[in-house]
């Protein structure tokens, strides 16, 4: 496999996006912000798939299809995550992820 310049132009931003997502996940306190970071990561994945499909394997649609499914899954995940966050909020009146450390060691 050879990366030409065009593909890199897409891949590098997507990797940066992914890293930003990871960074956000690790540094943010607010759970919603963390969810947003997760979305960034998942979207980077989608970009990857689409770009690989478009530039490397143009004769098929596998990557595209995967992206579609991944988006759907991400949506489902987020919905569920938000539900859980709300649940947590109801109990502790807080969405700071660093407060969720009652169970440890």
């Amino acid at each position: 496999m050879k990366f030409d310049l065009t593909i890199l132009m897409y891949i590098i931003p997507s990797v940066i996006m992914f890293c930003c997502g990871v960074y956000g996940f690790i540094t943010r306190k607010n759970m919603i912000a963390i969810l947003i970071s997760l979305e960034l990561m998942l979207n980077a994945v989608d970009i990857n798939f689409v770009v690989f499909n478009r530039y490397l394997f143009p004769g098929q649609m596998e990557g595209m299809m995967f992206s579609l499914f991944a988006i759907a899954i991400a949506a489902g995940e987020t919905a569920l995550a938000i539900a859980i966050v709300i649940n947590v909020y109801r109990v502790v009146k807080n969405v700071d992820i660093r407060e969720l450390t009652k169970m440890k060691f």
Binding site: I26, R98, L100, T101, K102
Partner: protein, 642 residues
């Protein structure tokens, strides 16, 4: 008549032992004693019959071409190590074993009889007879052993029965300690014996005495020049075997157990620690004598150790105050005589007169020493003390005992015509023949013997006349005096036997031996000097002996304390082995070895505790570790692959 029946001398005591051991407790004491005595009587009868048939019979092929044959009259394979190395339980009849049969059964029977009176009323009377039977069995098995491993087996059994009998009064701490000491010291020596057997059998591939002794040259050459630490393998083997014998026969420096062993009942001392067991070492050397003959180095060791022990024990005996201790040291000294005699003997020199003398002395010594011990027993029985200070003037109260004891003393001092004279004379002859040094040395020791024996005699029967109070000493009952009389007579006349005709190294029927009057005269003279000195010092109560002791305090105390040998051993065992070997090992085991195991557990635990912060409960740190983990996986593999 076939000599196979000789095996009965082993079976009978064994059955008696088992019988008395199992049902003895349920029996009346008297009955148990009578069972023991009768069984011993029958055993003695059989042994005598066997011995007499052997020496005087003609129809068994005992004598071929004027040489007495070694007869293997019983043979049973007990355990087979390999095709050649087989432990057999057998009966080997040859001059020395036949002679020993007589000695052992005689003394044993006397002691059995004597004990009826002596042990009367003791707790554990039945047990006592059971152990006596066990001892007799072991001792007889030892002497008739047809192979060296059988000898070792019975050797051990002798040791254990000695342990049991010394510790007979098991509630007395001193007896318990003495028994333990006796067993462990002899066990230590037995280790040498065992290793010696291992080496010997490794090279010769046989345990059998007949095979070993009939061709000693082949035995020596079988090692094929193998050496270990500069000495030939056979020299090691024979020296180690001698160490076994030295332990049993209480040679210096392994003698320390014998004086303590006097804590046992006196008849036991008479039987085991005077007449029979302690001569086992001598017997062992005699048994393997043809091989020893060819190992001159070992022979020198035997001679030196024997001669030194003889002197040492005699010196100690001069100062002891416990009558049994004196007798014990005298026993050590006398056995050392026999040992030296073997050491100086050789095939070439004088046709092995030393060998014959040694056996002869063994024979006579058994008679007069057991007599002396039994007398001592009778005295203790009536005075209730072992100490000379509690005695004196007993000749009036115990005339038979007095005469018997005097006979014994004369015999041991070598005054003709008592038996000791003849045998000791032969020993001196052999020693002179080897080297005048040994001869003079032994003659001096013989003088000392006469001195301390008469010191003992006078202190007991003369000296002063203390006030015995209500408990006047009295003559012992007939069961005790009868053996004294018989043994006294034996002590008187046993020397008259033309011993050399029956027992000699070449086992020939014809044997030239006569009294060497030169040697005999001088030795008698020395003995008389010793007796005279003792008479001067001890006949009547006087302060001279004490003054003499005060003049040489160091020497006297040292001799009285047996030249500190016990303290030395005590130091070695308790302060070196127990305190500086065993205790550190036990500590090492608990703290280092076990500590390592515990440490493994503790390290696991503390690791577990210290890594708990990874499980911090914080999702972000979880994710962080997750990511690092995934990347690390990739990195490591990348580094390896690319």
């Amino acid at each position: 008549m076939n000599l196979n029946y000789t095996i009965a001398v082993l079976i009978l005591p064994f059955l008696t032992f088992v019988f008395l051991g199992l049902v003895g407790v349920k029996m009346k004491k008297k009955a148990a004693g009578i069972v023991g005595v009768c069984s011993m009587g029958v055993t003695a009868f059989i042994a005598f019959a066997a011995a007499f048939t052997y020496f005087f019979g003609t129809d068994q092929g005992q004598v071929i071409d004027g040489v007495r044959q070694q007869l293997q009259v019983f043979d049973y394979t007990w355990m087979q190590f390999t095709k050649n190395l087989v432990i057999k339980i057998g009966v080997l009849l040859d001059p020395i074993s036949a002679m020993m049969l007589i000695v052992i059964t005689t003394v044993s029977f006397m002691v059995h009889l004597y004990s009826l009176g002596y042990m009367d009323g003791e707790k554990g009377f039945q047990r006592y007879y059971a152990f006596l039977s066990l001892f007799t069995l072991a001792m007889l098995g030892l002497v008739v052993a047809s192979n060296i491993f059988q000898m070792y087996i019975f050797w051990e059994l002798v040791g254990i029965s000695s342990y049991l009998l010394i510790g007979f009064y098991y509630t007395t701490p001193a007896a318990v300690a003495a028994a333990k000491k006796a067993f462990i010291v002899t066990r230590f020596a037995d280790l040498g014996f065992l290793i010696g057997i291992l080496i010997l059998s490794y090279y010769t591939q046989t345990f059998d005495f007949i095979t070993l002794t009939s061709n000693p040259g082949a035995v020596i050459s079988s090692a094929g020049g193998a050496t270990f630490l500069g000495c030939s393998a056979m020299a090691w083997a024979m020296t180690l075997i001698f160490i076994g014998g030295a332990g049993k026969s209480a040679m210096f420096p392994l003698h320390i157990w014998l004086p303590d062993a006097m804590e046992g009942p006196t008849p036991v001392s008479a039987l085991i620690h005077a007449a029979t067991m302690v001569v086992a070492g001598v017997y062992l050397v005699a048994r393997l004598f043809p091989i020893y003959c060819l190992e001159q180095g070992t022979m020198t060791i035997i001679t030196v150790i024997g001669a030194f022990t003889a002197f040492y024990a005699a010196a100690v005996a001069c100062t002891q105050s416990d009558i049994k201790r004196v007798l014990a040291f005298s026993t050590i000294s006398q056995i050392a005589f026999m040992m030296t005699s073997l050491g100086v003997a050789s095939q070439m020199l004088d046709n092995g007169v030393g060998y014959m003398a040694s056996m002869f002395h063994l024979f006579t010594h058994a008679m007069f020493k057991s007599l002396l011990f039994l007398c001592a027993g009778a005295i203790i029985h009536s005075v209730h003390s072992n100490e000379m200070t509690a005695m004196g003037g007993l000749r009036k109260y115990m005339p038979i005992c007095n005469w018997a004891f005097l006979f014994g003393c004369l015999a041991i001092s070598g005054i003709p015509p008592f038996s000791g004279f003849f045998s000791k004379d032969e020993i001196l002859v052999a020693a002179y023949a080897k080297s005048p040094l040994w001869g003079i040395w032994l003659a001096v020791v013989a003088g000392m013997t006469a001195f301390y024996m008469f010191r003992l005699y006078y202190k007991i029967f003369w000296w002063n006349n203390p006030d015995y109070g209500d408990h006047k000493p009295h003559e012992a009952p007939w069961t005790m005096t009868l053996p004294l009389i018989i043994l006294g007579l034996l002590a008187l006349c046993a020397g008259m036997i033309p011993f050399g005709k029956y027992v000699n190294l070449a086992r020939t029927v014809e044997y030239e031996s006569g009294i060497n009057w030169m040697v005999a005269g001088s030795s008698v003279l020395i003995a008389l000097i010793g007796i005279g000195l003792a008479t001067k010092l001890y006949l009547k109560e006087n302060p001279k002996p004490d003054r003499m002791a005060e003049k040489t305090p160091g020497l006297w105390t040292a001799a009285y304390r047996r030249f500190y040998m016990d303290e030395f051993y005590q130091y070695i065992t308790h302060h070196v082995i127990f305190a500086h070997v065993s205790t550190p090992i036990a500590w090492f085991d608990r703290h280092i070895i076990d500590g390592t195991m515990n440490m493994l557990a503790r390290v696991t635990h503390s690791t577990s505790y210290s890594i708990r912060r990874f499980q911090s409960g914080n999702i972000q740190s979880y994710v962080w570790i997750y990511l690092i983990g995934a990347l690390a996986l990739a990195t490591i593999v990348m580094l390896c692959v690319i």
